[in-house]
Symmetry: D3
Subunit: 161 residues, 6 copies
């Protein structure tokens, strides 16, 4: 059974991420969506909130997890050799190449598989979604309804405090 | 009468910005130079200082304004549908595309028009200008004399404190 | 009255070209779609066929013309100072920059204005359309129905001969 | 059983192609290496020579085939939904995106999977190999020994005629 | 004494090439401008015409030569280990990298040194110069007076025949 | 005697930097590796630690220094006109161009020379090295043994505190 990891910040999960999850699910038997936790980087949502949102909007066969440290170490602990990455028109290819080659150097068994996002989400990023939500813009074309609601709540609470 | 917005940080306005303002003024009947105010981002000059410098170095028919929040919301309040952006050799095209498409998604009437900077300013940016000024380098080839003077004053005051 | 030129090969006109024509028509009072005729370059459709297709699928206020030689010379003859170019995700920016700067050098009054294609047509090109049509693929998502019919006829005649 | 297509010109097959075939073989149960035959494009080796070389240097579980026309049509005839493409530092991303999105438009079931070549072959291409071989340079670091021999024979015969 | 090769098509030599020759002359003791002769590629000027133009517009300490075949073989015959390449805003970096790495693979002693063209010539290419000259445009800002005259003669003779 | 500057952060020096130092040493008679000290930017190693590591892993003819402020001012004080920069597959060309052109504007005598890193280090950066070391990954393929030891010590001390 072919298992693959789909790592990322998912702050929050967008329709673009969901599109890649759908595509990867057709190629791999099982998919682990893994939130990379970086203690030094500030995020809008906590790890728990991000895991909750991913679980809410993906199907049961998708496992949701999180990890700290090097991706190759986490993959080794999970016994997985394949990582999935989404390519968009705004992908930072050089960064992706750098990470893929570094991971391959750290673990030669490690393989990176790139899938292409739907044209509809080619320019979408979680950063854009957060910016639009922060100023009360409508994020409905960019994220699932559940995530849109969580974004509205998050910024309403922020404004109150 | 065709009106266009030219948004940016203008921290400070450079000869490259002025070049785009000149070019846009030939195509559009009226131009609003609008400073995007981002409370979370630190700037060298205050909004007032930046507005003062733009007014000082542009012609009377150019209106100077500032706004917070989403560009599409500000444009709607002003009744403007067209935004002008400068393209340079160092333009981050992907970011420009991402913003233009997001704005179009938020308001389908919204159009982004890209003009090309003169070869002379193809590699100029406000960041470079600030870095050169900070270490006492000559910024005269990069900004109008009035802005060069304000930059010198700004860093002289900083050194005193 | 602000007039603009929209030059290209249009071999044949695609939905992406039409999208730019629509957008340019909102900014400029009059638009001249001008086929660049290059005797050394082989095309699928003759100039007459290409002009016929553009006329058929654009509105009456769009003028259709063709020219040989330098764009700046043609523009001077027509008394136009502004050229419109479409930006796509697959745009060859460097080539566009090179042409725009060369034209500006040849005629300093000349201005290039870049508009962004709809996300839907971000990866569309006339080359792709010709390749798909050549092998009998369905070109309906890429070109107007009239052009799709002409493409089918063209390749049917080719196969007969 | 997951089957994937690896299409290309393979004129001739290089160590970079072999590297992608190895990597794809770990992810997919079966791989079809399919030579795209384009009657209008001149090649160094005939289809038969190219098929022979691929067969000689790949393992038995790799099927070698060729096709004319649209990739999506060939894939449909073979009952395959997944195509493998190699990403190198010199990949023409925009072209790859354009093809992948066009194929998806022509057949929504169609998925493109991108794998990254080894660092060792990041700048290798069949064009470079042909150029080096043409002038009698040593192609041994770039292709398997069998292909190197066939290249030498090809250019020796050319010089004789 | 440090010698360097500056290879290219020089069809014809432009102000951009001359700018690189000037810059390279400050770093290296001697410079060989070497025309790469490719029998399969059609050029506007013959090798003799191109050598004549380069000699006419460069200083005496610049040697002008031509070669066929692989650059590394020619460099070895000349006893030179360093090649100079010009970087422009429109440089095809991937191609430059590919050639530099292939040359290094063919001869590990071989080093490629990249210099940056003046801003003034950042978008200039011999192709653009030929296109402008072909249609009778003024090439004076792009090439030395002697080359401008040769271009005018070339196209006048062509029109007569 | 031709002297060149090789400026950078070197936080820490990697095998990629060493590769460029080797290549530059063949072209220039003397090389000054100069650490750019930026008081506002946080680094992993102090200037003293970085100078110590560079001295430890380079040959005696390489001078190690550091400077604050503008590169052109430092170069003028040192009487040097040539700066060496490494090009990698992940190089930010636009930034390099911007810096090179700004430096040339500030001092027209100033020349930037770009050398290409070995394929082996095409995707290596000090940032990647710090990230791998931070999580206890093996950095031996990326830096000399002495630097690998200093990285391990640095992060062991950090964990204790």
């Amino acid at each position: 059974m072919e298992v693959a990891l789909y790592p990322g910040s998912f702050d929050p999960i967008t329709n673009g991420h969901l599109d890649i999850i759908e595509r990867a699910s057709k190629i791999f038997d099982r998919l682990i969506v893994a939130i990379l936790v970086n203690a030094q980087k500030q995020t809008l949502f906590t790890v728990e909130e991000r895991m909750d949102m991913i679980r809410e909007v993906t199907r049961p066969h998708v496992e949701v997890d999180h990890f700290e440290g090097l991706l190759v170490d986490y993959a080794r602990r999970r016994g997985v050799h394949t990582v999935v990455r989404g390519l968009r028109a705004v992908t930072d290819f050089e960064y992706e190449f750098q990470m893929a080659l570094t991971n391959r150097q750290l673990n030669p068994e490690f393989e990176s598989v790139f899938l292409m996002t739907s044209k509809e989400y080619a320019y979408l990023s979680a950063t854009i979604v957060r910016e639009v939500a922060q100023f009360g813009g409508a994020v409905d074309p960019f994220v699932p309804p559940y995530v849109a609601r969580r974004l509205r709540e998050k910024f309403q609470n922020r404004r109150k405090t």
